[in-house]
């Protein structure tokens, strides 16, 4: 019984949260990696892009709520995601036409692109804060829990409860759907293959008649979809605050590079590597050991590898290690 209890404990505090957080990071990281693979720069504006799209979703959610439309037990925000996607596609294409295209035609260095994306980061930052303000916004409605800790205890008769929030479940389902569709598109369809070809070798792709403007358009569309979904899921699960979204850029970058920049599958795994190590290393395992060890071996400290204050620092440290020893990432980047 103690053994089952300890498993439930780990599931509740490590496995489920890390899986959720990892999915959110993975979706974000795939977006960054696609931009890097096709457009060849690290987009520092991505965190604020996520904030922007989530803001659109929130605004439309409020509109729907004011009209009395809701999805019942599901959050209304899911209905608003398509609108957010369309708005994000527009702003991305707008920035691409007004800003990035010029430098692409000039074949500027990657550093110039980074600097320009900093400019866009500032602009998006301002737009989001001016429109919706810098404060925490909770736009989650509908049923909060799929299963509560108390109910779980009652049903199973265990000492340890397992609580699964509906947002965690929704995040997982949506991530699975999005990623399967995306990888099917990239690996099986002709357009997806041409995108990968363009990312792999631009000149060869041009020679074989692939239209670069179409590829770039498509990339921005996919990136907008991913940014909106990732941003909305994160906002539903925690809450929406522009500053947190900016900060999330850092673990997303870490996930991207750990998985091999330019490699979507790698970014997907990278997100989970980062999430599991962040949560797994900062969790205090005392209770776990109390369950599984005999009484005389029970630890009296927290059995925590590093304090939760350093949650972000862990992902950065992983990144540094990966950069030092495997600069191409664990899953070999550079090829889409």
């Amino acid at each position: 019984m103690d053994f089952i209890n300890s498993i439930v404990l780990l599931t509740n505090f490590i496995f489920v949260p890390a899986l959720t957080y990892g999915s959110q990071l993975a979706l974000g990281a795939i977006g960054v990696t696609l931009i890097y693979g096709v457009l060849r720069f690290a987009n520092f504006a991505y965190g604020d892009l996520m904030a922007f799209s989530t803001m659109l979703v929130i605004l439309f959610t409020w509109y729907l709520q004011s009209k009395g439309i809701s999805l019942g037990i599901l959050p209304t925000a899911i209905l608003a995601i398509p609108i957010g996607i369309i708005g994000t596609i527009f702003i991305n294409l707008f920035f691409d036409k007004t800003v990035f295209e010029y430098y692409r035609n000039k074949k500027s260095s990657p550093v110039t692109f980074i600097v320009v994306s900093l400019g866009i980061m500032f602009v998006l930052n301002a737009i989001v804060r001016i429109i919706i303000g810098p404060n925490d916004i909770n736009f989650m409605d509908g049923e909060r829990f799929i299963i509560k800790a108390n109910e779980f205890k009652k049903i199973t008769g265990l000492d340890e409860g397992l609580a699964i929030k509906s947002t965690q479940f929704i995040t997982l389902i949506i991530t699975i759907i999005t990623c399967s569709v995306l990888f099917y598109f990239l690996n099986k369809t002709k357009t997806g293959k041409s995108m990968r070809a363009y990312s792999n070798n631009e000149d060869l792709a041009l020679l074989s008649g692939i239209d670069p403007s179409k590829i770039i358009f498509l990339t921005w569309v996919i990136v907008s979809i991913l940014a909106t979904i990732a941003g909305t899921l994160y906002g539903l699960d925690k809450s929406f605050k522009p500053f947190t979204y900016f900060n999330n850029l850092l673990p997303i970058f870490a996930a991207t590079i750990v998985g091999g920049i330019g490699n979507p599958l790698g970014a997907f795994y990278g997100g989970f590597v980062i999430a599991f190590s962040e949560i797994g290393l900062t969790y205090a395992y005392k209770k776990f050991f109390v369950y599984i060890l005999p009484e005389y071996l029970e630890p009296n400290s927290l059995v925590q590898y590093i304090s939760t204050d350093y949650k972000f620092a862990i992902s950065f440290a992983i990144l540094v290690v990966v950069l030092l020893y495997k600069p191409n990432g664990i899953f070999k980047g550079k090829i889409l």
Partner: protein, 455 residues
């Protein structure tokens, strides 16, 4: 000579702007903007040395600024003797332990030929963290529990605070040495991302190691290199000086009581201005010395070598220059200047607040300064520091003015107008972003482009 003309015009415009602020807002406000402009100019010169002189992209500015700030605490604050006696031994012991482990890693790296030595080093570091916690944990707890509301940390050395600026520079250079050893081999965009993330690690260390820096509890009431307002007001010479300067105004008031009341008001308001003026003089001196040195460096054979490395690394390598070593040196020098500026900033603020270090304000804004002002040109970097900080501060009043004009026929209670007025602070981000985008597009070398020096 035409370029020099540009510099003169640009800085005259800035001077006129400051005079406008002085007249229309207040002289104290103008001086406080000026002081932060001077500090920002020092920061952007540091970044300019890295990015403009040798093309290294360092997004870890925030981290080096925080190290400089930490130095002010470690140098100027009086030591907390109880904390030292409670946990000093444990801290020293763990410091020795860390040094030993670093030496061990160094030895492994240098001496041993072993296929998996990289993994060995990583596992050593991973093992180090719980061991460190085991060794230093009790003493850290002891230190942090001593008088937690007011101290709870080891304190500093109780030395004059100006000294800490140099310590900040040295500390920042040492950290830059470590970071440079790790990251400088990376390509530009990887370097940008990794320095950004490493600065994040530095900030979380400063924020959460309370025995060292008090962390989020902040250190307030730091020393000053200039007199305090209250001492000035109680001194004999300062009121006399003010009386002398304002004698024409004062003599026009016949009533004696009113005259003394006005004099006290004047003394109080001008003591603040005087303190800021002292700061301005010190900061300006620092900036001028730095400018002279880096102009000299730019024109020296060393500067030529740096430009050669920046513009064509392979050619420089072929000429026998040790590119890796030069990069490491310039990374350290630039970071030292940034650390110096960080210490100056904390000294000026009089308090050290680790939680205020955010990448947008302390990394990317400095970068905007350099890019806007002119990469590779010292005057450009200084101009960038001035212009950007000026806009950063003055954009809020400007936005308010603009909103009032555009929405002049909308009444004040209108929710849209209220919302816009509330979000005025964020217009500065918009201005920065648009400014950066426009400069990158139409003047990619910045407002004052780099001069080609032929010697």
């Amino acid at each position: 000579m035409k370029n020099n003309f540009d510099v003169k015009i640009a800085f005259s415009i800035i001077a006129i702007l400051f005079i406008f602020v002085g007249i229309f807002q207040s002289w104290g406000f103008a001086l406080s903007i000026l002081n932060l402009c001077l500090i920002s100019a020092v920061m952007s010169m540091g970044v300019n040395i890295q990015w403009g002189f040798s093309g290294l992209i360092n997004f870890g500015v925030m981290g080096f600024l925080a190290i400089g700030g930490l130095a002010t605490v470690l140098v100027s604050v009086p030591p907390v003797y109880e904390a030292w006696s409670a946990g000093g031994k444990g801290i020293l012991l763990s410091a020795i332990f860390i040094i030993l482990v670093i030496y061990l890693i160094f030895l492994i790296n240098k001496k041993i030929k072993f296929k998996y030595k990289n993994y060995l080093i990583v596992s050593l570091v991973i093992l180090l963290i719980p061991l460190m916690k085991f060794i230093s944990g009790p003493s850290i707890n002891a230190i942090e529990s001593i008088d937690a509301a007011t101290s709870g940390y080891l304190g500093g050395l109780d030395l004059p605070i100006v000294f800490s600026w140099f310590v900040g520079a040295i500390l920042a250079a040492l950290v830059a040495f470590v970071i440079g050893k790790i990251c400088l081999g990376l390509r530009s965009d990887y370097l940008a991302i990794s320095t950004l993330l490493i600065s994040g690690i530095i900030i979380s260390l400063v924020k959460h190691e309370e025995w060292l820096s008090r962390g989020v509890k902040n250190v307030i009431g730091l020393k000053r290199p200039v007199p305090y307002e209250i001492d000035l007001q109680n001194s004999i010479w300062f009121p006399k000086l003010i009386e002398f300067l304002n004698s024409s105004v004062l003599s026009s008031i016949s009533n004696l009581d009113k005259r003394t009341a006005m004099l006290t008001d004047l003394v109080i308001s001008s003591s603040g201005v005087f303190v800021k003026l002292c700061f301005s003089i010190i900061f300006a001196l620092v900036l001028i010395v730095l400018l002279i040195f880096s102009e000299k460096a730019l024109r020296s054979p060393w500067g030529r070598m740096m430009r050669a490395i920046r513009d064509n690394e392979d050619a420089a390598k072929a000429m026998g220059k040790n590119v890796v070593k030069r990069h490491l040196h310039i990374f350290m020098i630039g970071s030292a200047i940034i650390g110096f500026a960080g210490a100056m900033l904390v000294t000026y603020d009089g308090l050290f607040t680790p939680s205020s270090y955010q990448p947008l304000r302390y990394t990317f804004l400095i970068w905007v300064m350099v890019l806007l002002g002119g990469t590779g040109n010292n005057y450009g970097a200084i101009l960038g520091g001035f212009v950007v900080w000026f806009i950063w501060i003055e954009s809020a009043p400007f936005a308010l003015f603009l909103i009032n004009i555009l929405l002049s026929n909308v009444d004040d209670g209108n929710s849209f107008k209220v919302h816009m007025v509330e979000s005025i602070p964020y217009f500065r981000y918009l201005m920065m972003g648009l400014g950066l985008l426009l400069v990158m597009r139409y003047r990619p070398k910045g407002l004052l482009p780099e001069k080609i020096i032929r010697s």
